[in-house]
C-alpha cells in the first residue's frame, strides 16, 4: 500500500487542511476544524449541509460554496461524522431560514445525522434528505439497500442552486423528494481499496475479475464478474441504471464518475459508451459530467449516473456554481 500519507491517524486532517489552504477563496474551517464552511454565508438563505466519511474527495468539501453547500462535515475514512460535528455546523451556518441535511443512505450516516437533527431541533428548523441513487439490491426489493453514491453530487447541486435562488426549506425537501426516483447510479470496481488504518483491502480482485454494483466504501458489490472490455462493462451499467430510473422525461444528465484511481482518458472512453447506449435508447443527453467527484480512496473503477430532469432542473444545474470541484457561470 503506497499512498501519499504520513500516518493513518492524521491523514484525513492533513488532507482537509490542504484542501482548505488550496481553496481559501471558497471555504474556511469551522470552529475546531469540525467542518468546512463557505467563506461567505448568505443571510436568509436556507442552509444546506452534507457530510460523510472521508475517502470520497472531492465529495463533499469540494462542493462547499456558492450554488451548492454551506457546510460539509468530514468523518474518519468511510465513517460518518459525529452528531457533534454536524450540530456545530448547523449552529454556524443556519442564518435563520433553517437547514437541510443531505445524507447518503448508510445506517451510520443516517443515525449520526438524525441524532444531530434531534439535538438541534429545539433551536433550528431542520429537514433531512436521504439520497439513495444506487441501484436496487438483488436480495431486498424494498429500496432499503439502495445506497447514496455518485448521484449525490447531482442532488446536492440542484438543491444548492435552488436554495441560492431563495427556495424555502419545505420546497427544497419537496424538490429532493421529486428527484429521488429520477437519479440512479451503478458502480464497478477493477480493484479493491485498502483502508489505511486497517491496512487491509476490503475485497481483493484477481487480474481477471471485477466487482459489479460496488458502492463507495470498498464494500463488495452485487456480484463478481469476469473482466471484459469497456463496451461490455459500461453497457451493462448503463442498462441497469436506464431500467431502474423513473422514465418521466427523455432529457438526461449523464454522469461518469471516477472512483479515485481511474484516469480521465478511461472515464471519457466510458462516457462515450454510455452516451451511445443512452442515445440508442431514446434519451437526449442534454448535460454531461465526467470526472472524479465521488471517489472511494484510490479504487480503480467508475460509476454511471443517469438523471432524468425537468427543464427547470436543467436551469438549476446551469445556474452559477463556485466551488472547488464544480464551477461555472461565475
Amino acid at each position: 500500500m503506497k499512498k501519499f500519507m504520513n500516518a493513518a491517524e492524521t491523514m484525513v486532517a492533513e488532507s482537509v487542511e490542504g484542501f482548505v489552504r488550496a481553496h481559501e477563496e471558497f471555504v474556511v474551517f469551522g470552529a475546531d476544524r469540525q467542518f468546512v464552511r463557505r467563506r461567505h454565508l448568505v443571510p436568509g438563505k436556507a442552509a444546506i449541509i452534507s457530510g460523510g466519511g472521508a475517502g470520497h474527495e472531492p465529495m463533499h468539501v469540494g462542493f462547499v460554496g456558492r450554488g451548492m453547500l454551506d457546510a460539509a462535515c468530514v468523518g474518519h475514512i468511510f465513517t460518518s461524522p459525529t452528531p457533534g460535528q454536524i450540530l456545530n455546523a448547523i449552529e454556524d451556518v443556519d442564518t435563520g431560514a433553517g437547514c437541510l441535511l443531505v445524507v447518503k443512505n448508510y445506517d451510520g450516516d443516517l443515525m449520526n445525522f438524525e441524532m444531530a437533527a434531534e439535538m438541534a431541533s429545539s433551536r433550528h428548523r431542520i429537514e433531512m434528505v436521504i439520497v439513495s441513487d444506487d441501484i436496487e439490491t438483488a436480495s431486498t426489493n424494498d429500496g432499503r439497500g439502495r445506497r447514496g453514491i455518485a448521484g449525490t453530487v447531482i442532488v446536492e447541486r440542484l438543491l444548492g442552486a435552488a436554495a441560492e435562488n431563495g427556495m424555502a426549506l419545505a420546497d427544497l425537501k419537496t424538490l429532493a423528494a421529486g428527484l429521488a426516483s429520477r437519479v440512479r447510479s451503478m458502480g464497478v470496481a477493477l480493484t479493491g481499496v485498502t483502508v489505511p488504518h486497517t491496512r487491509r483491502s476490503t475485497f481483493s480482485l484477481g487480474p481477471e475479475e471485477i466487482e459489479m454494483g460496488v458502492g463507495i466504501h470498498g464494500e463488495p458489490g452485487r456480484s463478481r464478474e469476469p473482466f471484459s472490455n469497456a463496451d461490455t462493462i459500461v453497457r451493462h451499467l448503463s442498462e441497469v441504471v436506464f431500467n431502474e430510473v423513473a422514465p418521466v422525461s427523455d432529457k438526461a444528465l449523464l454522469f461518469v464518475n471516477g472512483l479515485g484511481g481511474t484516469p480521465p482518458a478511461e472515464l471519457y472512453l466510458a462516457y462515450n459508451v454510455a452516451h451511445r447506449f443512452m442515445q440508442g435508447h431514446g434519451l437526449q443527453i442534454a448535460r454531461s459530467l465526467v470526472g472524479t467527484y465521488a471517489s472511494s480512496l484510490d479504487m480503480q473503477g467508475l460509476s454511471i449516473s443517469l438523471a432524468l430532469l425537468r427543464d427547470e432542473e436543467f436551469t438549476l444545474w446551469d445556474s452559477p456554481v463556485a466551488t472547488a470541484a464544480l464551477r461555472w457561470g461565475c
Partner: protein
Amino acid sequence: MQIGVTQLQDMFGAIAEAMRREKERLCELDGVIGDADHGIAMEIGFSAAATTVAALDPAASDPTTVFNSAAKSFLSAVGASSGPLYATAFMRAGSSVKGKPILSDDDMVDAFEAMANGIKDRGKADPGDKTMIDAWVPATAAARSARLAGKPLGQCLSAALEAAVEGAEATKDMIAAKGRSSRLGERVIGHMDPGAASAVVLIEAILRTFDA
C-alpha cells in the same frame, strides 16, 4: 449486589480493555461483509468512554452521570454506525436509573434492557436483520427472565452472555437487511455479523466485572 460509580467505572474499563484485545478479530469480521473498521470504532469509542468515565469523581457523580458521560464521549469519538447505537444505549441506561446513587440487581437488569431498547430505537433493525440486535435482544430477554426467576445479577448476565453467543452465531445464517452488508444478499451467508460479535465481547466484559 450494590453497584456504585466505582463499579461502573470498572465496567467501562473492562469493556475498553476487551475491545482493545478483540479489535483485530472484529475488523476481520467487518472486512468480510462490511468496511473492516468495526474493531477500530469499538476500540476508539470505548477507550474514550472509559477515560472520560474514569475521570469522574465518584463522590460527586451518580450512575446516570457515568452512563451519560460514556454516551457523550463515545459519540464524539466515533461516527460510524456504532457511535449513535451505543451512545443511545448508554443514554437510555442513564435515564433508566435516574436519581439512584446505588444500583441494585434489578436496576442493572433494567439498565441492560434499556441499552438494548436504545439500540433498537436508534437503528430500527428487527431481529433477523443480521445486526447487533440479534445478540442484544436474546441477551436482554435471557437476563430478564433469569431475574424474574430470582437469579442474582451474575447469573442473569451469564444467561445473557449465553444467549448473546447463540444470537451472534445465528447471524451467520442470516441475510443482512440493515447496515453496510445489507446489499450483499446471499453473499454474507456463513459470516457472523461484527456488531453481534462485539456485543458478545461487551456483555462478557460486563459479566466479568460483576461476577468477580
